[in-house]
């Protein structure tokens, strides 16, 4: 580094304690996950401006109003953006090549104002493409219950 100090390689150390985090999802997200178990997509709605949040939020960031209204959304939505992934982040934090590329889509559920990022089960994607949610109420982890999307047609 030009400082004239040769200290050798700083070793990489993995700290021998596994921290466990147990995030509370809160009542809003819990209601959302409970809905998916019954095959329903529930979004919260701002009582002031009518913005619809999926995943739900408790507070509308624009109005600072508590979103105590709920709406049930259809399974269909529109692709807002997408990317074909050739890599994923490995446990060491580096980008490692995927054997098979996969498509990640950013979907606005019909009736919602915010997006969900998920996998697309399909060959190709385009912005504006209609898609349908793939719900898997049997998933072990409730976060996987909204498993992804597939082309609507």
């Amino acid at each position: 580094m030009g400082s004239g100090i040769d200290i050798g390689q700083v070793p990489k150390v993995s700290i021998p304690i596994n921290p466990t985090f147990g995030w509370s999802v809160g009542n809003w997200m819990e209601y959302f996950f409970d809905g998916i178990k019954e095959g329903k997509l529930r979004a919260s709605k701002c009582p002031a401006c009518g913005r619809v949040f999926l995943p739900p939020r408790m507070v509308c960031e624009r109005c600072f109003a508590k979103c105590e209204d709920w709406v049930k959304l259809p399974e269909t939505g529109t692709v807002q953006s997408f990317t074909t992934a050739h890599v994923k982040v490995g446990a060491d934090g580096e980008l490692e090549d995927l054997s098979q590329p996969e498509i990640i889509v950013l979907v606005k559920q019909d009736g919602a104002d915010t997006c969900v990022a998920a996998r697309l089960e399909g060959e190709s994607a385009s912005v504006g493409m209609k898609v349908k949610a793939v719900l898997d109420p049997s998933a072990e982890n409730f976060l996987d219950m909204l498993a992804g999307y597939r082309p609507a047609e």
């Binding site: 580094m1 200290i7 700083v10 807002q80 992934a85 934090g93 912005v127």
Partner: protein
């Protein structure tokens, strides 16, 4: 903020994939060099603000072990956990309050010793996105790139062109490490595909590095050689990435507006001579042209095509190579400010642009450039 606060000294380490030196040694080097250049001694009164991140550093209270090397021992010291540009903002605030005359601000991180893409994943919504392991800073950046292309017709060739310009500029900057003299768009497009449309050469790779800067009140800067004045500044927060239109850089626009208002800039394209932009991906630089008012909304691609932002153009952007050339998280935005100050002082060496008197520099924090900071700097 007429002649309120000036940059009177700065220092950067060479940015490297692996500096083979501890974080403390890197910080010591820049703090020492910057203080000496400012004519300050450790016993003088100054305040110290560092920009570091607990996750990048792998330690809680990341500023704690930096107290001695950062020349902050028994000083009024604090830390922002954002880009180094925010450390400059906080230093500026402290001076403007009248309680402090001089502030040493710095930013550092060492990508060679942390799991590079993990801190970005840890920024995601822990109740949903984080645990699904699809989004990270690069895949989110790709979603933003596609949204921008779709909205305004920018192409992958534009992104590749920007990346090639920055890689080529970086080759003239002895402190940059990601450099490729004579790079062209074809080479960038042919590089390893990560998340389409982003290839490995379109992103600002995380690396090791530190930089420091000394800010002084007008009074304290009176004796300084070629002080560079802070004419304006602004910063802003935007919504989480799935809750905002990704094709816009809303927070950069807001930050620029407030910085320009303060600096009296009404026509940025003609009043600004040079820009140093913190772009984590090539497409972000195009979006920044628009948010900084260099061209109209959606005109980023054609503005680049005009050649204005090349080293010899009317409004060179990232003459240093930008973040593409060197991206040490928490130091990157501060390095942009320092590079802009170097240009105004005429001390940028091989990548010096002629006749720079007013320059703009930006820094950012968060996926898809969620939070941005803007500085407008000027010479005498």
């Amino acid at each position: 903020m007429d002649k309120g606060v000036a940059i009177i000294a700065y220092a950067q380490t060479p940015f490297e994939a692996d500096a083979n030196a501890s974080r403390e040694i890197q910080v010591l080097e820049v703090a020492k060099t910057a203080l000496e250049a400012a004519g300050l001694k450790q016993e003088d009164r100054y305040t110290v603000i560092s920009a570091t991140n607990d996750y990048c550093d792998g330690r809680t209270i990341s500023n704690m072990r930096l107290v001695e090397p950062a020349a902050a021992y028994k000083k009024n010291e604090s830390k922002v956990e954002m880009d180094g540009g925010y450390a400059a903002i906080y230093g500026l605030m402290r001076i403007l309050s009248g309680d402090h005359q001089v502030a040493l601000v710095m930013g550092v991180s060492q990508a060679s010793v942390y799991a590079r893409n993990i801190p970005g994943i840890m920024m995601l919504d822990p109740t949903f996105d984080r645990q699904r392991w699809l989004l990270n800073e690069v895949s989110a950046g790709a979603l933003q790139a596609r949204a921008y292309m779709n909205a305004y017709g920018a192409t992958e060739e534009h992104f590749a062109g920007v990346a090639a310009k920055n890689l080529d500029n970086a080759a003239r900057n002895p402190l940059a490490y990601n450099k490729l003299a004579g790079a062209d768009a074809a080479k960038v497009l042919a590089a390893r595909k990560l998340y389409e449309p982003i290839t490995e050469l379109m992103l600002a790779p995380f690396c090791d590095g530190a930089c420091a800067m000394v800010l002084a009140s007008g009074e304290a800067a009176a004796k300084a050689d070629k002080p560079v004045w802070v004419k304006g500044m602004g910063f802003a927060h935007d919504s989480y990435l799935t809750e905002r239109p990704l094709e816009e850089m809303g927070s950069l626009e807001l930050a620029a507006r407030s910085a320009y208002d303060m600096a009296g800039i009404t026509d940025p394209a003609s009043q600004i001579d040079l820009a140093e932009v913190h772009e984590n991906f090539a497409h972000e630089e195009l979006m920044a042209y628009e948010s900084l008012g260099f061209c109209g909304k959606g005109q980023g691609g054609s503005f680049f095509d005009s050649g204005a932002t090349l080293l010899g153009g009317d409004l060179p952007v990232n003459a240093s190579g930008g973040a593409t050339g060197a991206n040490a998280v928490c130091a990157t935005g501060l390095a942009r400010i320092i590079e802009a100050a170097m240009q105004i002082r005429g001390k940028a060496g091989e990548h010096q642009v002629e006749g720079v008197n007013t320059a703009v520099a930006t820094g950012q924090t968060g996926p898809c450039a969620q939070e941005n900071v803007v500085f407008v700097l000027g010479g005498e």
